[in-house]
Structure formats: C-alpha cells, structure tokens
Amino acid sequence: MKKINAFQLYCMLLVMIMPVNFLIIPKVLTSYLGNNAWLAIITSLVPGTLIIYIYYSIIKKSLQPFPLLLEEHLGRIPGKTLGFIYVFFFILTSSFTLRIFVEFIESNVLPGTPISIFIGVMLITAFTGIKSGLVSMARMAELITYVGVPFTFLMMALTLTHNPDFGNLKPFAYMSYKAFADALAFATMPLLNMLPVLTLFHYFQRENSFKPMFQVLLSYIVLVGLITISTVVALGGQNSSLFTFPAFVAIRLVSIGDFIQNIDIVFIGIWIMGIFGVLSIWWFMACYTIQQVFNLHDYRFLAAPTALIIGVTSILLSPNILELNLLAKGVLPAVYYFFLLFIPLVVFVITLFKAPVQHQPEYPGSENPVSTAE
C-alpha cells in the first residue's frame, strides 16, 4: 500500500492554505488594520495552534478518516447527514477557489476571454489529478511547494526593491481592538483549510501528524506575514486596501536596475499551479466524502459529474466581482467557521471523553484512495 510521507502531507496542507490567501489576505487585513495588518497574521499563531490541536486530538481518537469519523463519534444518522452536507460545502469551496482564479485572470491577465475557457481548462487539469489518485496529488503538491515557496520569498524580496518605505509600517500597534479582532478572525480562517488532514492522516506513514501541521502554521505565518509586510512597505497600509489584489500590484511595480521588469507574468504562472493544487484537493474531498457517505466502491468516477456542478456553481456564486468580494468578506467566513471549526470542535469535545485509538492502515469496506489509477 502506497502512503504519503510527512513532507508530502506538509506540502498538501500548505498548498491548501497559500495560493488563494496569498492574494486575499493582504487586501482584507489592510482594510481592517492598515499598516499593522501583519500583526494579525503573527497573532494567528495562537488560534492556529488551537485549531491544529483540535484536529490532532480528533485524529488521535478516531479509527476512521473523515467523513466516517463523524459517524464514529456522532452516531450513524447524524454522521451520515453531516457528511452529506459536507459534500455541498466541499463543492462550495472548490467553486469559490475556481471563481477567485477566474476573477483574477479576467481582471489582470486576459480580460475579454470567456470565463468558460478558464473554468474548463482548470477543471480538466484538476480532473486529471483526481483521476490519477492521492499519491499523484501528493507529488504534485511537492512540486508546487518546491517552486512556490522559494518564489514567494523571491517575490517578497523583489517587491522591496521598488522605493521601499519601511516607515509605512508605523505607527506600531495603533489600532482598535474590534478591527484587530476582525482581522485576527480573518487571518486565522485560512488555517481551517487544514481540515483535509482528517482524511489524509489515514494514509500518512507516521502516527504523529501534529508536526507537519505545525510546520504548515509556521510557514503560513512567515510567508503571508512577509508578503503583507512587503505589500505595506511598497504601497502603504491605506493604499493597499484600495486594490483588489494589492500583492499583485506590488509585484507589478518591481523594477530592478531598469532591467528586470514586468515579472508579474511569472508570478501568474506559478500562482496558477497553486490554484490547481487547492482545487484538486477540495474537489478530492468532495468526491471522497460522496464515496464514503453513499458507501460507493471508488471516488474517482465521481470527478466527472461533480466537475459540472463545480463549474456551474462557480459561475452562480456571484454575478460580479463586487458581490464576490462581499461574499468572501461577509458570508463565507461564517460558513467556513461553521464547517471547518464549529463541527470539528463538537467532535473534539465528544472525543475528550474517549481513549486514544491505535490506527489501522486500512479499514474494511472502503476503497484505498492512495493507489494510482491504472
């Protein structure tokens, strides 16, 4: 039986968190806190660690992967019902990821191109990823991490070459408590994207999944924190909140020695790789949850019908980018917190009264999703 190793688990979880939030977080946090946006990201270490602990405790006391663990801890009917609802949630997250990708490309790269082209191309590639199995997706996540993380550091360094004003970071910690609380809640939200670990742990070679999760948390704080800082230094706290994707605007301003310019297209290429990773994993979760809820033999054949649902939902999510921004800032956080924190929290509380279990590599009656497609 092929399994995913610790580094692959780290990569998959990091890919779940980084690409979308690379663009969204600086915008939202600067709109709340201006120049102090980075403080919310650093502070997310505390709630982030608690989230990881919740997921880790659930893993330690569960015999089966998500969504079967819902049945294990909540009972058959509530567990099945919740699992069924989670299918819609995973389709929503996949659709939202796809829509963010479409909006970014339409606004900044290829306006005028029908969005069906972008949706179709991205769905076909992610479809191929799901069909080829979990191990392929893990390797893909490794590749994205190898390319994406060094590039993120490079981008941050280059952004600081265009008339950096470190004074933009002042005044330090001058902000209202409410704005800070709102920003902290938003900065913590991406860490909830680690929920797929509740499924992935079952195919993880080691028992201790806390370490890779904590490494992801630290990586998130360092990467997104630095991106936010460099955006504020390059554009200013107030100006950053004026743009839809301020980190991208900062990258567009990069000019080194009047020689290295217009490097935004390189960023776009690598960012698309990341979006492909996020979409594939959320989509995998949707298919896998359907398989487990309905006791199906395999999940891969579900990729084709769900592709249509995800594609259409991504278009129906919002008629324009303004409403999409409202959705992203006002509605989706509540939905995300409910499904990615509240329900796991309930399961966590129940598992507090249970003893830790010895994990078995396979469980009866389910298809191993790790093996590659023939």
């Binding site: 004074g167 004026l242 310019q261």
Partner: protein
C-alpha cells in the same frame, strides 16, 4: 487502449484550441506607445495626447519623422483615449508607455479627473514616470523629436534618471507614487516639470522645476535650488548629484560630487508646537574648484565640510520655506507626525493646514569630504 486513445484525443484538442492567447493581436495591427498625456480643455473636455513610435526602413533613414503625435477629446479621459481609435487603425499598446505628462490646466484644476482611470486601468504601468508640461500644450511638447533617437518621451525616463545621479536636482515620480500620495493623509505630491527649449536650431525637452500640489491641485512650483532641497529630504536614489558652493573670501567656486546621503526626520512636540528635527548625513568628493587658492588638504578639509553643510542646509531651508508659503506638505511632515504620534495626529489633522506653515525645522547637516580623485592638492600655477 481505448482510455489512452481518448486521453490523446483530449490532449490534442486542448493543445490545438488553447495554445494561443484568446485575445491575440498581431504586431502588424499594433502601435507602440512611447508616452501619454492628459489635459483639460477650456470647454471642460478632457484632452488626451499620445506619442507613438514609428519604425523606419534603411532607405528612409534619418529623414523619416521618428514619432507620431495623436490627440483626441472626450468628456472623460477614457472616452478621450478611446476616441483615438477613430483615426488610428491599430491597437495602441498602452503598457509600453514609459511617461505620463499632465497638462498644467488639468493639474491646476483637479487631478481627480484622471485618478480613477490610472489607478484602475491594468494597461497603464504604474511605475511609469509622471511629469507636468509647464505652460505649453501637450501637442507641442509631444511633437519635439529627440535629436539622437527621435522619440522624445521615450528619452524622458533616462533623462530623469541620469540627471538624478549626475546633477541631483529633480526626483523622478512614478504614477503609483503620485496617486498614493494623493490618497494618503499628511503628505502632498510633487511632479517634475518638463518644458521645451531651443537647441541647435531645433527643439528638445528640458526639465525645469518641480510642480507642487496641495490636495488635488497644483499650487506652485519649486525652482532649482528648492528642488535640490526637496531631494535631500525626499530622495529617490540616495546617491549621486552635484553640490556647488561659493567659497568665502573670493576663493572661487567649488563643486562636490555627492557620494551618498541619509536623511532622518523626527517630529518633536515642544510647548504645544511641532518641531521637525532633520538630520542629514552625507559624504561628498571634491570634484572641482575654479579659483587658485589651496583648498585641498588636511587643514582645509573641515572648512570645506562646513561650507558644504551650510549650502545643503540653505537648500533644505529654501524648500521648506517655499512649501510652507504654498501651504503644501510635500515633505510629508503630517504623515511623519502620524507615524510617531498617532494620537496627536488624530487631533491635529483637521487643523493641519493652519499648523503646517508654522512648523519649525531644526536642520543639522553632517558633511564628510571623502575623496579628491586623482589629485591630492589644488592645481598649482607658475
């Protein structure tokens, strides 16, 4: 086998249909834009000007005009810009424009008329240089051919950069920087002024002064000395430039080359009023003297340094005096105050236009004469 065949067919279909950009434009159907211009007409219409680069064949050689100027009007800058396509049968490549020139009429009226266009339009590169055309129509400015390369606006980028490091008078301002300052409380923007000058029977562009804005309108300009002072306080590159001083006692003029400098501005609240402590640290090299006196040497060095420091201080003070007389916070003292005393700024920002002209500056310049190049003494005559 069937699966593989299906996969190959799908991949082939994708490769064939998605290998090129959807909105592909052939180079033959495009026009390379060197620079953009925007002004406001007397009748309230927006005026848009564009300088296009034209290719020339070997046969045409130097005879061919190297650039083409097109103008159009419209109720907004977008409409004016799109009206260009009524007589330009090509797609203008806006991202190639390296310069944006603003007409003085627009600058003196309201920059809000174009701010949204330039901050929203993805086709305009926000790192392009921005300038003001002083007292002349954009067409006249854009029609000037650079004697060396033809396309005058394409040369503005180099002109701004070269003078910054060799002369050190004007600070290049990008579109992003200008509009960011318009949006940031406690700081007003400036722009270098470009004008036309006669040169060898023809005309060429010349930088001459710095336009000063208050809120969204141009309210005056800095002369050369004041512009030098502005650069000490708000530098682009913190290196390069010349510093010319008249030596006391009729010893002639000495020219220093600025190696590098550091500027620190710190606000201080003293007896209810604001004082800005300005600290300049600079290293200069002895470049030239016009008199016959022995000015280079260990004994003379401290004298040279104090004279140079005094000159820098005068330039800075001239800039401060002018900006305060125009009541334009181009030095960003309000923003500096916010960074150091945010709670005070919350109270003072509503009266900043009354407080700024009364703010005192405490200027300290520490100048170090470093090198004297290949001569260690002043030239000795017989």
């Amino acid at each position: 086998m069937v699966k593989r065949l299906t996969a190959i067919i799908i991949i082939f279909a994708i490769l064939v249909s998605c290998c090129g950009c959807w909105n592909l434009v052939e180079i033959n159907n495009t026009a390379i834009v060197a620079g953009l211009g925007a002004d406001l007409q007397e009748n309230g219409q927006m005026h848009f000007a564009v300088q296009l680069e034209t290719a020339s064949t070997k046969r045409e050689g130097a005879v061919k005009i190297k650039n083409l100027v097109l103008t159009s009007d419209g109720r907004t800058i977008t409409e004016a810009a799109r009206n260009i396509t009524l007589y330009l049968p090509r797609i203008p490549l806006w991202p190639h424009a390296s310069t944006l020139v603003i007409g003085e009429n627009l600058a003196r009226n309201d920059m809000a008329l174009i701010a949204d266009f330039f901050m929203r339009n993805r086709n305009v590169r926000m790192d392009s240089d921005m300038l003001i055309a002083h007292n002349l129509p954009l067409e006249e400015l854009f029609s000037v051919n650079d004697p060396l390369t033809g396309c005058s606006l394409r040369c503005m980028e180099q002109l701004l950069r070269f003078q910054e490091t060799s002369l050190g008078i004007y600070v290049p301002v990008s579109i992003a920087e200008f509009f960011f300052k318009l949006a940031t409380p406690g700081v007003d923007p400036v722009l270098p002024i470009v004008t036309v000058t006669a040169i060898d029977g023809g005309q060429d562009l010349k930088l001459q002064g710095t336009a000063v804005f208050r809120d969204r309108r141009m309210v005056g300009f800095l002369n050369e000395k004041e512009s030098r002072g502005y650069r000490w306080l708000n530098p682009g590159k913190k290196m390069g430039g010349l510093l010319g001083v008249e030596m006391p006692g009729g010893k002639g003029r000495v020219v220093f080359e600025v190696v590098n400098f550091k500027t620190k501005q710190t606000p201080r609240l003293q007896d209810g009023s604001l004082v800005m402590d300005i600290q300049i640290e600079t290293a200069v090299n002895f470049y030239e003297q016009t008199g016959t006196a022995e000015l280079v040497g260990i004994e003379q060095r401290s004298n040279l340094e104090s004279v140079a420091a005094r000159q820098i201080k005068q330039e800075i003070q001239a800039c401060i005096d002018k900006s305060q007389s125009l009541n334009s916070d181009i030095l960003g003292w309000g923003r500096t105050l916010y960074r150091h005393y945010p709670a005070e700024w919350e109270k003072l920002q509503y009266h900043w236009s009354e407080l700024y002209p009364q703010t005192r500056a405490n200027i300290k310049v520490n100048c170090l004469v470093d090198r004297t190049y290949i001569g260690t003494r002043s030239f000795e005559f017989k």
